[in-house]
Subunit: 333 residues, 2 copies
């Protein structure tokens, strides 16, 4: 059906080896032969068969990326960063969405292994560590994104979540708030818990301030809406005067829900999120947030993966970016 390298060779009146050389080592081949080969390629509409190349080469030019939630712009930005850097290395990125589901996560890891991807970038859901070690033993390295490797066995690119939580809570305290509520989920997920710990530290530093935890099922807009509803249904004296959300999706949900109950942001309740996604600034009460350099994180992770691929046994490296407080109207005054 489709032309192969042999057809091209025949048509150009050369051997298959020469065609391959035109494709891969152009300098080795005479200008004359090269141009005949190129003409034949154009005539026949020949396109390299990647499966055959990969089989021969023993490895692919693809990198797998597993994210927790494609609907979260933080992850799509991270993916764009990885993709951009991959381009520079002639690699392509296969994007998979685990939707915070262990079964989906492991299905994709299996798929990636069958495809012999060059390596894997992953924001793991829970302890994917054992599985990743297995993959590494079989020659597929991973770099963790958005989360440190607990045992430092893998390289990782993350943000100092504890400090991010501290910055957020510190800011709320600085503008005079004292009854802070933290919400998001799942509460036992590392990133979410680190942010809580940071907030705790800020609150503890300050006399006469409290931190309440309101766990959520996950960290989607709808979870924020539920949290906002729960807060609004309390008697005013029991409401927090500031809410810190595990991410911006949750914060947007809370914002919407509070507004629909006539609770003013920031007058009655100040509100801050995490990630600084585009939509945070676009909300009509523009949302304060803690920025993660998502694009840069994606680029960095991919670069580290490539380094690991090239230089077999280099030690794992933990890159931790510092988050940045972004103040907008939702925490004014």
């Amino acid at each position: 059906m489709t032309a192969n390298i042999r057809d091209v060779a025949e048509r150009a009146g050369v051997s298959v080896g020469t065609v391959s050389n035109v494709l891969n080592h152009n300098e080795r081949v005479s200008p004359d032969a090269a141009s005949r080969v190129r003409a034949a390629i154009a005539d026949l509409g020949y396109v390299r068969n990647d499966a055959a190349r990969q089989l021969r080469a023993g490895r692919s030019r693809t990198v797998g990326l597993v994210v927790l939630d494609v609907r979260n712009p933080f992850f799509t930005e991270l993916a764009r960063g990885a993709e951009r850097e991959a381009d520079r290395h002639g690699l392509s990125v296969l994007l998979a969405n685990s939707d915070e589901d262990i079964a989906r996560e492991s299905r994709y890891l299996a798929l990636f292994e069958q495809q012999r991807v060059r390596g894997i970038l992953i924001s793991p859901y829970q302890q994917a560590g054992a599985r990743l070690r297995e993959l590494r033993d079989r020659g597929i390295p991973s770099v963790l994104v958005d989360r440190r490797s607990e045992d430092e066995l893998f390289s990782s690119v993350s943000v100092d979540d504890e400090n991010g939580g501290y910055l957020a809570a510190r800011h709320l305290l600085d503008i005079g708030r004292r009854r802070i509520l933290y919400t998001g989920g799942p509460i036992d997920m590392r990133q979410i818990d680190d942010r809580r710990r940071g907030a705790r530290r800020a609150v503890d530093e300050t006399g006469a301030a409290s931190l309440e935890i309101l766990p959520a099922r996950a960290s989607q807009v709808e979870d924020g809406r539920a949290a906002g509803h729960e807060i609004a249904s309390r008697p005013p004296s029991h409401r927090p005067d500031a809410v810190f959300c595990a991410n911006d999706l949750v914060a947007l949900g809370v914002l919407q829900s509070l507004a629909s109950h006539g609770i003013r942001v920031p007058d009655d309740v100040a509100l801050i999120g995490f990630d600084d996604i585009d939509f945070a600034a676009a909300a009509v009460v523009p949302l304060s947030s803690v920025r993660q350099p998502s694009l840069l994180m994606g680029e960095t992770a991919l670069r580290m993966l490539v380094a690991e691929t090239d230089d077999g046994e280099r030690p794992a490296e933990q890159v931790v970016f510092q988050p940045e407080l972004v103040v907008r109207a939702s925490t004014a005054g």
Copy 2:
């Protein structure tokens, strides 16, 4: 490095053919041999090499999806739909982002062709038609998403954009607005132009109403912000009393920009978007919009692609969903 089927065969004391049969036609093999093979697979940590399978089979189990903008939740939902349906057919989806860039679009198409993907779902930027025809001639079918095939040469899944534009403008007129502004870009993109035409029709039906077009570079949040700024800087008498945006991202940008200039939505200017992404409802002035069944569109497109793959020369089919008006606070009164 990695165990192959021959190693497994040796360890299990059978031939490679038998191992392959265990993997692909379990019923052909005796329970005894099968269990020995399975044990060997587990012992050696054997994982099938997809490249070799694909080379042998002549085609892959992957479908390519090219979207215009991964940052637009409409497309990520569509991707989720395609992915979900792909699962059911044992296929996986490779997601690529053209970012409305012709060069990127054709790079990805080339990549997909090299990978001999089973087929391609694409929201084409401009006339990708010639290229897609080429791919089809070489055995790779495509289904267009979010846009009809102009010459009906390809199957497609889209929404009746003209009617969607009509619904939006009709609604604005029904609530008493008369000076409507339409913004988004690029203005020559099919979907965007169809929505404009629909709006035009509604306006023409109504006496004493006007439709102004404000073209934008693209249809991102920032383009909306620019449009909002432009509107706000006019003398009040020259401002529209309603704005219809080519999509919700633009509408959110306009919303933010108008608010920051003290222009009230919907009191001074009513606002409606397109797509009904999650964030539309989550905006504090919840955004009216025209809903596209994005998840369903993704599922349908993938199903059509599979049908096309199975049944060689079936005629192209155009599936057109009807959009649905969703009224929220941004067009109240």
